[in-house]
């Protein structure tokens, strides 16, 4: 067994402490023949420190497209020649989306908007939408609305939003290659305010945007320093018209190594499958990731692209004897 796996077993599995950046990089560099053993260790860590339950979530775009920012992976930026047009979801449709999400057994429903940060119109829409969902649907409401002011953080808490997503997207050293219209530090500032408000922090990113393995390790270490409640892990799906539209997709084994590495960096976090797993991992790889550190998933469609039917993922969880985390377990 490679020495790094022995070290990880002692530090992470036995003691519950995450690996540091240098060790994460060693994990990311392990050869393919060590992958089964690595995934088993990451799975053991997840089972010991998180348990067998899987948190299931649905997401929906409240405001799509027309974003003033230039995140190079995103088809919703108004700065690129993307085919995605700006559109708003009405409140009855938002409530219906929450209802359909709850019907899958999901405990989380995240409302997302493609904005730099919310304006009054969006905050008013959120207030009305969250209220309507809470009155009609038994589900936890999360939000992802870009960068916030302290007043907006306080408003979201008051509305009853329990978790806020704001992805750092990539490590600090690579961020300027991904976004130029705002900084990594500005994102970190919003995350700090969210944490201090008492809302749960959800922060992850996208792998496969051209970062090196060193930068992937740097990212995992920076997330571990943030210590978010949840880390959504996306794999780049190159979108037509965006600067990253011609990038290759992440190779499946590299994705699995990254999943295990992020789990070993953050043994107690909710590590969620987000976008891109269908293309990067396929059905078999999706199963391998759930047996290699993942303990949460977005089911159904994403914001502008489609996912597997929720029923397929729920069937997979049943096969793996992994219970869906119930709503009552989230309080």
């Amino acid at each position: 067994m490679p020495e790094i796996l022995d070290r990880a077993r002692a530090r992470v599995l036995d003691d519950g402490a995450g690996l540091g950046e240098a060790d994460i990089l060693e994990i990311l560099r392990l050869p393919d023949e060590d992958l089964p053993e690595l995934l088993q260790l990451a799975h053991d860590v997840r089972m010991k420190w998180c348990g067998p339950e899987v948190e299931v979530e649905g997401i929906v775009s409240l405001k799509t497209g027309g974003c003033p920012e230039d995140c190079h992976f995103c088809s919703q930026s108004g700065l690129f020649a993307s085919p995605v047009r700006a559109v708003w979801l009405d409140i009855p449709s938002l409530v219906e989306a929450a209802r359909q999400t709850a019907a899958t057994g999901a405990s989380e429903f995240c409302i997302v908007a493609a904005v730099r940060g919310p304006d009054k119109r969006l905050m008013d829409q959120m207030r009305e939408g969250v209220k309507a969902i809470r009155e009609a649907v038994d589900i936890q409401v999360a939000a992802s609305l870009g960068m916030l002011t302290q007043e907006q953080v306080d408003e979201l808490v008051e509305m009853g939003v329990h978790r806020y997503n704001h992805n750092l997207e990539t490590c600090r050293s690579y961020f300027p290659n991904v976004v130029t219209t705002h900084s990594w530090e500005e994102r970190w500032g919003t995350l700090t305010m969210v944490r201090e408000s008492g809302m749960e922090v959800c922060c992850g990113g996208i792998l496969g945007m051209g970062e090196t393995l060193e930068q992937r390790a740097e990212f995992a270490a920076q997330l571990a320093e943030l210590d978010p409640h949840e880390v959504p892990l996306n794999f780049l799906t190159p979108r037509p018209g965006t600067p990253f539209g011609d990038r290759p997709v992440v190779e499946g084994r590299d994705a699995l190594r990254a999943i295990a590495a992020f789990r070993l960096a953050m043994p107690r976090t909710i590590l969620r499958y987000a976008g891109g797993r269908e293309i990067t991992l396929g059905d078999l790889g999706t199963r391998d990731g759930l047996l290699g550190g993942i303990n949460a998933m977005i089911v159904g469609n994403y914001l502008t692209t489609l996912g597997r039917p929720a029923s397929d993922d729920l069937e997979l969880l049943k096969d793996l004897k992994m219970p869906v985390k119930s709503l009552s377990a989230t309080f």
Binding site: G58, V60, S61, V87, Q100, G300, N301, T304, L306, G307
Partner: protein, 55 residues
């Protein structure tokens, strides 16, 4: 007829494959960009001239 993914004339195997995980973006009749709303269990795509598609 136009490709409902890229808006160019004809049909394209690459676009057809990608469409398994994407809603349509262009109206196949007039190549207008459609207003598309994706929700967890489906999508709607609306062309101002040719109406709404659902999936």
């Amino acid at each position: 007829m136009y490709c409902d993914r890229c808006g160019e004339p004809g049909s394209h195997p690459g676009c057809a494959a990608a469409r398994e995980l994407e809603p349509p973006r262009y109206c196949a009749h007039c190549r207008r960009r459609m207003k598309v709303q994706v929700v967890p269990t489906g999508w709607t795509a609306t062309c101002v001239e040719h109406g709404e598609l659902r999936g």
